[in-house]
């Protein structure tokens, strides 16, 4: 792909001596909304963590804006314009929304912190109304928004989002995904890992399916039905391919 900003080649990575990713190949052009899907243990979350420098990389490269960032520390990667929203509740529950955003602005110079916070409040007005509320006292959906906001505050070029729907009510999931769509509409590149495949296929422009640490399908969400997706998850093959073998 010509204008690909993020280019992953033959990536092998995991935890300690355990390999989870076994040669991932993926190119993400700027401004794309990609949903990473796959069965449990496929390496979806591991791929995001690897992009954010939180795993051990054995082989392969991650080219980002022409630079190989494989092996960089999280902090450096953040500086390079990649932000990560981890899975599960990931805020500071005993701090207010305001303080959480201040923590998220840790690497930003003091003078700019307020401006960046206002920028986030403009993006997520709901957080502004809750600015003095303790994060732990907010609903799951609001907390998830706060976590996305904390990542967006750094004005990343790529936003990595790991399963934002976990533990949320259907209504809250709707709100979170609407916000992701809105961010994308303003040009934000997003890599989303999601178990809720139905929702993910609705919002993403591109679906990438991982299985056993490899990309096994890559295409437009409209080109694959839900049944085919299930088939892929279970067998790693499309029905048609299975029949072709026989």
């Amino acid at each position: 792909m010509a204008n690909s900003e993020l280019s992953i080649k033959n990536l092998r990575a995991g935890y300690g001596s355990l390999d989870i990713l076994n040669g991932v190949e993926l190119d993400v052009p700027s401004g794309q909304f990609v949903a990473l899907m796959g069965p449990n243990g496929a390496g979806k979350s591991t791929l995001l963590k690897t992009l954010y420098g939180m795993t051990t990389i054995k082989d392969g490269s991650i080219h980002w804006q022409g630079k190989n960032i494989a092996g960089y520390k999280s902090r450096t990667i953040l500086g390079e314009g990649i932000s990560f929203v981890p899975q599960g509740r990931c805020n500071f529950p005993v701090m207010t929304v305001d303080e959480n955003l201040q923590m998220a602005a840790y690497t930003i110079r003091d003078a700019k912190v307020k401006a960046e916070r206002d920028y986030v409040y403009d993006l997520f007005p709901i957080l502004k109304t809750r600015r003095s509320t303790l994060a732990g006292n907010m609903s799951g959906g609001e907390q998830q928004l706060l976590e996305v906001a904390m990542a967006v505050l750094q004005r990343p070029k790529v936003l990595l989002v790991d399963e934002p729907s976990v533990g949320l009510s259907p209504a809250a999931i709707g709100v979170v995904f609407d916000e992701l769509l809105r961010l994308h509409a303003s040009g934000q590149t997003i890599l989303l890992v999601e178990q809720n495949t139905k929702k993910a296929m609705e919002v993403a422009e591109r679906a990438v399916i991982l299985r056993l640490g490899k990309v096994i399908w890559d295409g437009l969400p409209k080109d694959i039905t839900h049944d085919e997706l299930g088939e892929l998850f279970l067998t790693g093959k499309m029905r048609g391919e299975v029949e072709a073998v026989h």
Binding site: C90, F92, M103, A104
Partner: protein, 328 residues
């Protein structure tokens, strides 16, 4: 807000000021009110408040459970004792040196220990106390082994023409009270600073703290050292108060007492630690009148704590304080 409501709030808030004043008066006149033994118990409580404050920074604010506090307490006591006995250095020099020595020793101990997480870290810190005791017992040429260091002089101040020795229990009480108050203020300042908030961030979610760019490891190491400084200062005052230091200063019992003060008082709160030191140290001293029942009563208190006050007494104190202050 209506006028009556404001008036009512002012009327109710008044209660906090008189109570604060009463507590201050009690603190300042305690040696005259209670017996000499009560004053002694209070001094011990005030001395233990120092390592407990340090431990609170570590356990309560940064989320690192450490049992090493008695080791730094012992290092402080021995530093002050050795300096006073061998070189005859004045009290304030010994206190500062004890704090610095404990903090300096915490650096090489903390570097490997803080690479460990949760239980492994706790086990490692437990080892420090045992090693400390073994060194104090066996490095006889310096520490005099089990004989310990005796006849450590009482604090003596020589400020120009003014020179006095704090010898009596009463005098020592005021010294301990002043140092305790200073330490409490120091902890308050640390916790209120941006660094304090970063510590809380590490406690709440270390991975997230790391991912927003806080140098978590460096923070933990610095807090570990600061907490050792508090323990070292506490140990030096203990040495000057008892005038004797022995390998028993390195006791697991001390580490657990400090931990009980922090957890029982309320980890992550300053008032909890102040209250906890008075309650738990005071209690063990006060219960000496019934030696047979002492440990049973102490145990029952701890059980009550676990069942009814999981977060220590701090929430209770806060609720009471807010109630008399007229807060909602």
């Amino acid at each position: 807000m209506s006028l009556t409501e404001t008036a009512q709030q002012i009327r109710r808030r008044d209660l906090r000021i008189p109570l604060g004043a009463i507590l201050l008066v009690i603190a300042l006149t305690a040696p005259f009110i209670g017996s000499r033994y009560v004053t002694h118990s209070l001094i011990i409580a005030l001395i233990f408040m120092l390592p407990a404050h340090g431990l609170n920074l570590l356990v309560g604010y940064t989320g690192l459970l450490s049992l090493a506090q008695a080791a730094f307490f012992g290092i402080g006591a021995y530093t002050a004792g050795l300096l006073a006995v061998t070189y005859g250095t004045p009290f304030y020099v010994n206190v500062v040196a004890a704090g610095l020595a404990a903090g300096a020793i915490a650096l090489p101990l903390g570097i490997p220990a803080l690479r460990l997480r949760s239980t492994s870290f706790v086990m490692c810190t437990l080892g420090f106390v045992i090693i400390g005791q073994a060194i104090a017992k066996n490095w006889i040429s310096v520490t005099r082994g089990d004989m310990g260091l005796s006849s450590i002089p009482k604090p003596h101040f020589a400020l120009g023409p003014l020179s006095f020795t704090v010898s009596g229990t009463m005098g020592f009480y005021y010294l301990a009270l002043a140092i305790g108050a200073l330490a409490t203020l120091a902890v308050w300042a640390i916790v209120r600073s941006p660094a304090g908030r970063n510590m809380i961030a590490i406690r709440e979610n270390e991975t997230l703290a790391e991912s927003v760019g806080i140098p978590t490891w460096r923070y933990k190491l610095i807090v570990f050292m600061i907490s050792a400084v508090f323990a070292g200062v506490g140990g030096s005052i203990y040495a000057h108060y008892l005038t004797v230091v022995s390998p028993l200063t390195f006791q697991m019992y001390y580490s657990t007492t400090m931990l009980i003060i922090v957890l029982g008082g309320g980890a992550g709160t300053i008032s909890g630690v102040v209250f906890g030191s008075l309650l738990f140290v005071g209690l063990t001293e006060a219960l000496r009148i019934t030696p047979e029942l002492r440990m049973i009563a102490y145990g029952l208190c701890l059980l009550a704590l676990v069942f009814w006050f999981r977060q220590g007494f701090a929430p209770l104190i806060n609720r009471f304080w807010n109630a008399i202050g007229g807060a909602k």
